[in-house]
């Protein structure tokens, strides 16, 4: 059991390193969701089912989708000038 857990931990650390060192932000976000799934697996091994479920749904599910939306916002070439959007000089 410990050997399997050690393997998962090493893999976990690797995914974290990939998430931080990847050049392309998209691949970083994807490896972040993989990291979330692995973290859920670690919680299962540590006998914490509630936490595993939450981790799976929120960190690898919702947070990744927020990242993707935010990333697409910044990549989208602005069709029209966005001046009003920021509401400058309130």
């Amino acid at each position: 059991m410990t050997a399997f857990f050690a393997f998962v931990c090493v893999f976990l650390a690797l995914t974290a390193l990939v998430a931080s060192e990847a050049e392309e932000v998209l691949s970083a976000v994807i490896s972040l969701s993989v990291f979330g799934v692995l973290m859920a697996m670690v919680f299962v091994i540590l006998q914490a089912p509630d936490v595993a479920l939450t981790q799976a749904v929120i960190n690898s599910g919702l947070v990744t989708s927020f990242f993707l939306v935010a990333y697409s916002q910044t990549q989208k070439p602005n069709l029209l000038e966005q001046k009003q959007d920021i509401g400058d000089g309130q």
Binding site: I86, G87, D88, G89, Q90
Partner: protein, 487 residues
């Protein structure tokens, strides 16, 4: 009962506002002042209940060791009063300026007030972290409320640094939990001395770093000038006056309860941070041209004063720190409200362009002068008295470095506040001649009056003995543990 209501009432009014906005927006104009007033009164009631003896509120009927408990003692009641007045003033200012248009601001404002009361009252470490997160998120949002690019950038930087600080606090709480498997502060305080020294060091470092990062002490203060100067006036008054003090309260509570006798060298670290912030804040403030940035750096310096008081670790030290926090709330909120309103009216924040403002807005500039004199430490006002008590506290502990830093700080703060005042009073070109609206003047006048009253009070009434008693009660943890756990 009162303690729970002090948190639950603002929270539920935050939940109610969207419904009111959607289904009965006419009612919003009536309900908002009621909610603001209710929150103010309940917070004061909670403060009053905690002043004499420990006031406890158990959640879910479970005793302290099992569930979460709200504890109001002398220390938290002074800070509750401080929060009540600060939030009340900012609420009044914003309500008078913007009315009920931006209803989302009020939702976040009430959440901030509820979570601030939560942090000041809670007796559970993790619960304090949760409430801490709420009011930090609310603070990030209020900073970036005006959506100008400065506010958004300041909000982002405040968020990233604040979250790193929050994770350090979470780490500290986690380590405390690992060692003692409980998170109730009283139970923790009882079992801290038996903890291995390595863990104790990690918890102390994490807590001090986390809370001073949130409070804006020197090496961690970089977000504070940007955030407090680019926020709108009501928010920067709220941030400088109240939000920063809550982190100071948590620092006092945690360092006294846990490291009072287990790790006394924590207090030397806090003193050094205090001296650094005092010198750094004043030096940076002395070269600012933007009046709100000047006031923000002055906040960093005043946080240094408070941390020097806390760092002494004696009853008079804590009393001086608490007294100065209250004074600083009065002075800094008043300064931000007056300076902010003046800056908004003449559409510029550069000090040099404000020449001759005295001859066009006499009331506001007079209030600004009294408050500036108070914050510099001119004798009859409260700034002087709190500085005097800080000097007494630091001399009592024979730490002359802190005492000399206090004196040096007074001298430098005098130099840059006088620079601002001299610009105000030199006759300059004509601004549009009109007096600010009634309520803002009333708030400014009220705050400067409080400064004068609090300055003279220690001569006639034993108010200082009250504060020393608060300090000594906060110091003896055994009394706290007995009150919370045995009942």
């Amino acid at each position: 009962m009162i303690l729970t209501l002090a948190v639950i009432f603002p929270l539920s009014s935050a939940f109610v506002i969207p419904l009111l906005h959607l289904y009965g927006s006419r009612g919003l104009r009536l309900f908002l002042p009621i909610m603001g007033l209710g929150a103010f009164v309940l917070t004061l009631a909670a403060a009053a209940s905690g002043f004499g003896d420990y006031a406890l509120a158990f959640f879910g009927g479970w005793p302290a060791r099992l569930g979460v408990v709200f504890v109001a003692d002398g220390l938290s009641s002074v800070f509750l009063a401080l929060a009540a007045f600060g939030c009340g003033a900012s609420f009044l200012y914003f309500y008078e300026q913007m009315g009920t248009g931006p209803w989302r601001f009020y939702v976040i404002f009430f959440l901030l007030q509820a979570s601030m009361n939560g942090v000041l009252l809670t007796g559970d470490l993790f619960n304090m972290f949760v409430f801490y997160e709420i009011f930090s998120l609310a603070a990030y949002l209020l900073v970036s409320y005006s959506l100008t690019w400065q506010a958004v950038e300041a909000g982002l930087k405040y968020l990233v640094m604040g979250t790193v600080g929050a994770f350090f606090i979470l780490l500290g709480a986690a380590y405390a939990f690992i060692a003692t498997k409980t998170l109730n502060m009283a139970a923790l305080a009882a079992s801290f001395p038996q903890m291995p020294k390595a863990t104790l060091i990690v918890i102390a470092a994490c807590m001090v770093v986390g809370f001073s990062l949130k409070a804006g002490a020197f090496p961690f203060h970089f977000w504070l000038p940007d955030a407090h100067s680019s926020a709108i006036t009501a928010v920067s008054a709220l941030l400088s006056g109240v939000v920063v003090k809550v982190s100071i309260y948590s620092l006092i509570r945690v360092s006294l309860l846990f490291f009072g006798d287990a790790l006394p060298s924590v207090f030397d670290v806090i003193t050094v941070l205090g001296v650094l912030s005092l010198l750094g804040g004043h030096l940076m403030a002395s070269r600012q041209q933007d009046i709100k940035r000047l006031l923000a750096y002055s906040t960093v310096a005043q946080i240094g004063y408070i941390m020097i008081g806390v760092g002494m670790g004696t009853a008079t030290g804590i009393a001086a720190a608490v007294f100065h926090s209250f004074n600083h709330m009065l002075m800094k909120s008043g300064l931000f409200i007056t300076a902010g309103r003046l800056a908004e009216e003449i559409k510029t924040r550069n000090i040099q362009d404000m020449k001759g403002l005295y001859y066009h807005r006499r009331g506001m500039v007079l209030a600004f002068t009294v408050l500036a004199a108070a914050i510099v430490g001119v004798p009859p006002l409260n700034g002087f008295m709190s500085k005097w008590y800080l000097v007494v506290a630091s001399v009592e502990k024979r730490s002359f470095l802190a005492a000399l830093a206090l004196v040096f700080g007074t001298v430098i703060s005098a130099s840059y506040y006088i620079r601002v005042l001299s610009v105000f009073y030199t006759p300059g070109e004509g601004f549009s001649e009109h007096e600010s609206r009634r309520p803002v003047l009333a708030i400014a006048a009220l705050f400067s009056a409080c400064c004068v009253v609090l300055g003279l009070l220690p001569f006639f009434t034993p108010i200082w003995e009250l504060f020393v008693e608060v300090g000594s009660k906060a110091l003896n943890t055994k009394d706290y543990i007995a009150a919370v756990l045995l009942k």
